[in-house]
Amino acid sequence: MLDTETNNKAMITQSFSNDTPDTQLPEGFRLPPPDDEESEEFFVNIGPQHPSTHGVLRVVVRLNGETVVEAVPHLGYIHRGIEKMAESQTYIQNIHLSDRLDYLSAFSNNLCLCMVVEQALDIGVPERGEYIRVIVSELQRLQSHLLWWGVLGMDMGGFSTFFYGFRERELINDIFEEMCGARLTVNYFRPGGSSLDVPDTFIPRVKNVISALRKVLDEYNNLLNRNIIFLERTKGIGLMSKETALSYGCTGGVLRGSGINYDVRKNNPYSIYNQFDFDVPLGRVGDSYDRCQVRMEEMEQSLRILEQAVVRFPGGPHRSQPKQNYKLPKGSYYSQVETPRGLLGVYIVSDGGTTPYRLKYRSPNFSNLSVLNEIAAGHKVADLITIMSTLDLVIPDIDR
């Protein structure tokens, strides 16, 4: 008969001590503790299939009772080799691949790639094209934040917020579908403008969205963000100081929630954002509540930009110099945009051909996720879920 006790112990250490010295651990990650009889700590595996990890993410959590001691994310479950595939695709084919990075900001991903090509080949964009870019980017931001809000409520147990958030999101998705034929993987922007001109119903639909959202944002705040249960669960949770946020390279709502005023649309303006009047909301303390409120305020500011843009929407061509194949001259080029999640950067090294030699995405979610271990230590398991929710992660962007 086998000695079940020692066998069980062997099984446990085998399944959780996967970070053995054979696989090189990145610096700073601690190994599991030696098998200590008196230790009350144990490992729990959250994911990769889990309702709250926003994708396929595996987080190995070391718990002491209910308190998180260490939370180590394990990536790679949705790695598809997009950067490698990009080396054999032309620049226009790469645009359709970039949809699938962070699928909730597909337009912004397309835009960044187009901006690199425009920068390299010195292509100008007509005014109507620029206005389309700004309006569509802000609609994308609204759509992404509405989904984030709905999922935040759902993660915390208030399941109804999911459906309310999606109701307004459907209006925006209808605009996208009428404009380019797809709701998620849009493949819309091209170097020099956009692939198709917007239909006639575009501006009336955008005005409809603005009025619908203005009526309903206050209601959303009352339902979730001013609720005492929500306040108790997010205030003081996941405190992130300015130094931490900067040193881990966080951007977007995560960085602004800690009080640092950095928004690519203001600090490094692209497209025609410098012609619009909007504020950048900042948090004070850097806890989860601040991050949530920053994103709710960003929705308000997006509405402001949209209101200004629809009034001044010009006529004219939507794309300049349409071409099928772009040949970038030899060299390296970089451009960045403010996606709903943070700073997305695209770095292209070209050797003169129609396909890039190397295409690198600087993904905002990767840096935002890296701060998880730092800010979740000492909180409870339920807070870990809340913190991951407020970091606003989309996992395919991390794994690419």
Binding site: V44, G157, G158, F159, L223, I229, K380, A382, I385
Partner: protein, 363 residues
């Protein structure tokens, strides 16, 4: 034995008919069997109705329709769910304690049955009426806690154990609040038997305990709702089954009929809890009379059990409303709520109630 020739819409004619046909002891046994069978029928049909109702109500809160295909407007959905649950394979995880593993789902349902036996649905629709009815309820509701703890332990699964432990702590704490609130009602009514409590609320709608005393009743009602929501493991206190955290909680390892028993147990317990709320605060089977001579005679024609069920389903709706609106509370905040907010408030209310009773303003 109460005389059966009373002027109420529903008479005890079944009991009288049996007693007129058989000798007393046989009649007692037959009456007992009829009561048990009717209770089982009630629980069975309630389970189906409540499951369907929860899905439809949650759908309408969430801007959608719910089941619409199985039968007109999805009325046969509960039947389909039941058939599916019966046909599923019953799995037992390796290393699970067999006897306890299969015993655990039966305990919450049994607790629900036992409490239903003493609830006064109408003047003569009560299976038994012990003099210490409230004590009996408190004792039996411990069975539900036991069921959950046993389920978590016997599953041989870390997640189940965590969920069961949290749930056990939660339920035990809130039973204290429940006991204190029931004590309040007993003090006001002067009797611990449930029928006595209902009879003490005789009269108009303003004689119900929720309305009779200046805001004492409403405060106690709200606190009772909060405490019973925590007892039932429903959102905002559903940490035991928090789907988005530790998938499945104490019932992770159960499949098929075992899981269906837990599910059914939760819904029937919800109904039982709302029956208790109706009995304690909303006047039980008394019709809502207003003291106006115009409509009172019409209202008093409504059979008692219809009034009772209407009130009970209103409270069930309240439970569902809370579930689909509020996010979840964290475990330590839950304990904070009980020990540092509800318990002091309960003691304060008890003091006030004692004052009222001493002044003779109640019952």
């Amino acid at each position: 034995m109460m005389p059966s020739a009373e002027l109420y819409p529903v008479n005890n004619f079944i009991g009288d008919a049996v007693r007129s046909l058989f000798p007393p002891h046989v009649a007692a046994v037959i009456n007992g069997l009829i009561a048990l069978l009717s209770l089982m029928a009630l629980v069975g049909s309630l389970g189906a109705v409540l499951i369907y109702l929860e899905r439809k109500v949650s759908a309408h809160f969430q801007l959608r329709f719910g089941p619409m295909r199985v039968g007109p407007h999805g009325l046969l959905q509960a039947l389909a769910d039941g058939i599916k649950a019966i046909f599923k394979e019953i799995l037992k995880p390796e290393g699970a304690d067999t006897f306890i593993f299969f015993l655990a789902p039966l305990l919450p349902v049994s607790a629900a049955f036992l409490i239903l036996a003493i609830i006064p649905f109408d003047h003569h629709l009560q299976v038994a009426d012990p003099a210490g009815g409230v004590l009996y309820v408190l004792g039996v509701s411990g069975l539900s806690v036991l069921g959950i703890l046993l389920a978590g332990w016997a599953s041989n699964n870390k997640y189940s154990l965590l969920g069961a432990m949290r749930s056990g702590a939660q339920m035990v704490s809130f039973e204290i609040s429940l006991a204190l609130l029931m004590l309040l009602i007993v003090m006001l009514s002067g009797t611990a038997s449930l029928r006595g409590i209902v009879l003490a609320q005789q009269g108009t709608i303003f004689d119900w305990w929720i309305f009779k005393l200046p805001f004492l009743g409403i405060l106690a009602f709200i606190m009772y709702l909060v405490a019973s929501t925590a007892e039932l493991n429903r959102t905002p206190f559903d940490i035991a089954e928090a789907e988005s955290e530790l998938t499945g909680g104490f019932a992770t390892e159960y499949s098929g009929i075992g899981f269906a028993m837990f599910f059914l147990g939760e819904f029937v317990n919800m109904f039982v809890s709302s029956c208790l709320v109706t009995t304690f605060f909303l006047g039980g089977f008394h019709a809502p009379l207003f003291g106006l001579p115009v409509i009172d005679p019409i209202l008093s024609l409504i059979p008692g059990f219809i009034c009772f069920f209407a009130k009970a389903f209103l409270i069930v709706f309240l439970y569902m409303w809370f579930r689909w609106t509020f996010p979840r509370v964290r475990v330590d905040q839950l304990m904070y709520l009980e020990w540092r907010i509800m318990l002091p408030a309960n003691l304060l209310l008890l003091m006030l109630a004692g004052l009222f009773v001493a002044q003779g303003w109640a019952g």
